[in-house]
Amino acid sequence: MSVDQSSAWRDLAGHAKKLKDKQLADLFDDEPTRFQRFNYQTNGFLLDLSKQRITGETLTLLTALAEEQQLRKSIEKLFNGGIVNQSEQRPALHTTLRQPLDKPVVVDGKNISEGVHESLLRMKLMVDKIHSSQWRGYNGRPIKDVVNIGVGGSNLGPLIACEALFDQEIQDSHGLRVHFVSSMDGSELSSLLESLDAASTLFIISSKSFTTADTLANANTAREWLVSSSHTPVTLINKHHFIAVTANTPKATAWGVPEKNQLLFWEWVGGRFSLWSVIGLPIALQIGMDGFQAMLEGAYDMDMHFRQTPFEKNLPVLLALVSVWNINFLNIHAHAVLPYDGRLASLPYYLEQLEMESNGKNVNHAGEHIKYNTCPIIWGGIGSNAQHAFYQLLHQGTEPVMCDFIAPINRYQNDRQELKEQHKLSLANCLAQSRLLALGDSTIDNNQEAPNHKRYVGNQPSSTLLFDVLSPKALGGLIALYEHKVFVQSVIWEINPFDQWGVELGKQIATSLLPGLSSEMELPVDSSTAGLLRHILREQVGVG
């Protein structure tokens, strides 16, 4: 029986009908102390759900749904290495990556935590060597710039962490700079190379399979650049200018990265959950190994909260259940992620991948097409900037949208007063926007008389997530919170969040089309694709 046939689901549907006409403004009128009732705290995080269109009964019914779906059992299965990725028959053990050494995780009779800590140690040795300026380029000069080449999980995770934590001061890195390139077309790489010195640049090729076309295209260009700028044999370049982070040693070795320059991880680490593994090398290079460990600790604390706290007070569970309520019972299919801190500019992109690649599925565990909605469209941006862009739609558009407002409480502690004031201004805007979205202009005196184009109807639900400061530990906790939210949703929806078959076929088609861009040939394609190919061939410079 699929979940939408369950009694808990039906109860929620009935409850939603009853609440249909209740506006958020009414809910606040009915219960002036909503905040006390619907705010939840753990490990320095505060989650305010009082601006969601829920009542106490909603949460009771939602937790009943979670119980009915045997969520507790699924969580244990996740942590204990059970096969939670059925289509690929493997566990998803990203939580093991942040497990302390004294807490073994035994899968198939083997403590895999030991291997995790060994790989972290290997990473530490590399970080130390680079930080102490003892990793040498082809002419013996120390490495000053490190470029991470990766895409998807091998890019977004390290990128968001490095951006978010760029102001973490570390003493011993000798001004090392960390860069990221990902796009297949070489846009980022080509402009970056102009500002780099080949002799002191090290590339990290991050690819779980070491077959990712985007990454290998960039890696090959980087190697050509190194060889031609240095007039040095490729073997010497391979030896000193590349680190591979991968689960596929033979492929990395065949490409040319010596084994001593390889950091390995495992099949059971999903790409979008991999920043906790050696994929996090750029993070450790930027914020130091201690900072990286603090990030793991923050995530581990959230893991323990997720695993041990009753659903009624469990932040990832509540965040997930409320989103299920919005999606499946209030018919809201758009979700905006709105950090009020410029350092989290890439968080929306990160969550786009984490949520949409995980739960953008239409087939359940039984292999059947499902009839209810799963992951919504997710997008976002720095809140205060987005106020000048898409907030118009949030306030006066026709689409219902749920929002996550995310902000640190303190910033610029050791900085000038003016910057502290700027952060306050940002926080004031964060609170103002969620208030206006929830309550509309009912809170403003006399606005009811205004013409329609100046009215705000409100009733857009939102969650607000606050934490003390944006530290490595807080970021670790924040990302783990969303990872677990995604997992809980998948359990409710009965889908596999750990595969991504939807991204495969496009790659194959691209490979088959590539020859058609070099010379005219008959390809068995539709008339649109054939027409576009012909046009490109005709207009392409230097071909034909």
């Binding site: 060597k129 102490s132 003892q134 040498r136 082809y138 002419n139 013996g140 000069r141 120390p142 010497l236 030896k239 000193h240």
Partner: protein
């Protein structure tokens, strides 16, 4: 005359010893760090050849006293020679001196603080009711020949803000003036500025000749020939024009960074910053030459280092290129053998626990079975070694000459692979 000297810098020790040598009654307030130590255990004394003997002699003759019971003592002259980062302590000392001394005293400031520091000290004394004359004498001592430079200077700059101070200062320096060619008198601020400016100029010259040497490597021309050509131009001259593997030493580097900071604080970009950065890179050049020779793979190699101190005549390895080269070699898994006539104890204590580094008292023992010999410091005993012995005992006859000390042609004729700086 009774003179009170403050500080535990090389300058403080040398000043106290030399002032005592010419008959003054000198009390040295060295501070807590060294007070309980034997002279032989104080690195700045141990590292400076001849200084320990001189101090012993003055103590024995009763003109030199180490006193740390009181912060200050009564004297006609107070000579302050503390570290550049000790300004707060100097200001405190000045306050105590001002409260203690009732008669007119002479205060000599020989600390390298910021431009205007001496005037500030004078102001402080006056505020505390002390009618003192204050002069600034730039510290021009060079490690390795500090005694000689204090006893027989060729040139002295006196920073002075009133004439009475001038006659007192001249009287104090008279015993050291026999070979004096130039006594320049200027305001204290100008004198402080001059000290910084001179240090910066020397660094820029060295940085520039090193840069030229690196370029000469690429053009396959001999920098020594070019250097002679440049030096013959009277506008340039020959001094401070020898390329090498970077400059070191504690004081020089400290003043340079201070000067660079002064530029930074006044909002102007300084070429000094680049010079300092490039110098750190230059200190590794001998490692890089070795690395390039062995095509980026030094694992398991054995390399001898001749000369560890930052220059001949001192045992100090502070900021020395040798340290950078050793660190780099060790990181690549190289066995490093070090010889130095004076500085081995400093190397030993720095690398006490490293099994891949060995110190040798005999320079020829250090090279046995080595894949390269790197000459870092030009101690005289390295200038004309027994080449046949080198050829006989080295595994690979590769010489990397960081001071262009050897004759290139001769080395090649002997059968060495010779790599110099810029030639």
């Amino acid at each position: 005359m009774r003179v009170c000297v403050y500080g535990s810098t090389l300058t403080a020790w040398v000043t106290a010893a030399c002032l005592a040598k010419v008959g003054n009654e000198v009390v040295l307030h060295e501070g807590q760090d060294t007070y309980n130590k034997e002279l032989t255990d104080i690195p700045v004394i141990r590292d400076e050849l001849g200084l320990e003997t001189e101090i012993f002699q003055q103590i024995n003759e009763g003109r030199f006293e180490r006193d740390n019971n009181a912060e200050v003592c009564e004297a006609a002259i107070h000579w302050v020679a503390l570290e550049a980062n000790d300004q707060a302590r100097v200001e405190h000392l000045i306050d105590v001196i001002a409260r203690t001394e009732k008669s007119t005293i002479l205060v000599v400031n020989q600390c390298n603080f910021e431009v205007g520091a001496t005037a500030k000290l004078k102001h402080r004394l006056a505020e505390n009711g002390c009618d003192a004359m204050v002069v600034y004498i730039p510290d021009n001592l060079e490690q390795g020949k500090a005694l000689q430079l204090f006893l027989r200077p060729k040139r002295i700059i006196l920073g002075i803000d009133n004439d009475k101070a001038l006659s007192r200062a001249k009287a104090l320096l008279r015993p050291f003036s026999q070979q004096l060619e130039q006594l320049q008198i200027m305001g204290t601020k100008e004198a402080e500025f001059t000290k910084f400016a001179t240090t910066g100029m020397l660094a820029i010259r060295l940085g520039y000749i090193n840069e030229l040497a690196n370029l000469a490597d690429k053009f396959d021309v001999d920098i020594d020939v070019i250097k002679d050509g440049m030096g013959a131009d009277h506008r340039i001259g020959n001094h401070y024009l020898s390329p090498g593997c970077g400059f070191g030493g504690q004081n020089f580097q400290t003043y340079l960074s201070m000067l660079s900071d002064i530029f930074d604080n006044k909002g102007s970009q300084s070429i000094l910053k680049t010079v300092i950065e490039e110098n750190e890179i230059q200190k590794e050049i001998l490692f890089r030459k070795c690395w390039e020779h062995y095509k980026g793979d030094l694992t398991g190699k054995r390399v001898a280092i001749w000369g560890a101190s930052f220059k001949p005549g001192t045992a100090s390895i502070e900021n020395a290129p040798s340290v950078k080269v050793i660190e780099a070699l060790l990181s690549q898994g190289v066995q490093v053998n070090v010889h130095d006539p004076e500085g081995l104890h400093n190397i030993r204590s720095k690398y006490e626990k490293n099994q891949h580094l060995k110190c040798y008292g005999n320079m020829y023992d250090a090279i046995i079975n080595c894949d390269a010999l790197i000459l870092v410091t030009e101690w005289p005993q390295y200038m004309s070694p027994d080449y046949n012995k080198l050829l006989g005992t080295m595994k690979t006859p590769l010489i990397i000459d960081g001071r262009n000390a050897f004759d290139k042609q001769l080395m090649i004729e002997f059968g060495f692979t010779y790599i110099g700086i810029g030639r």
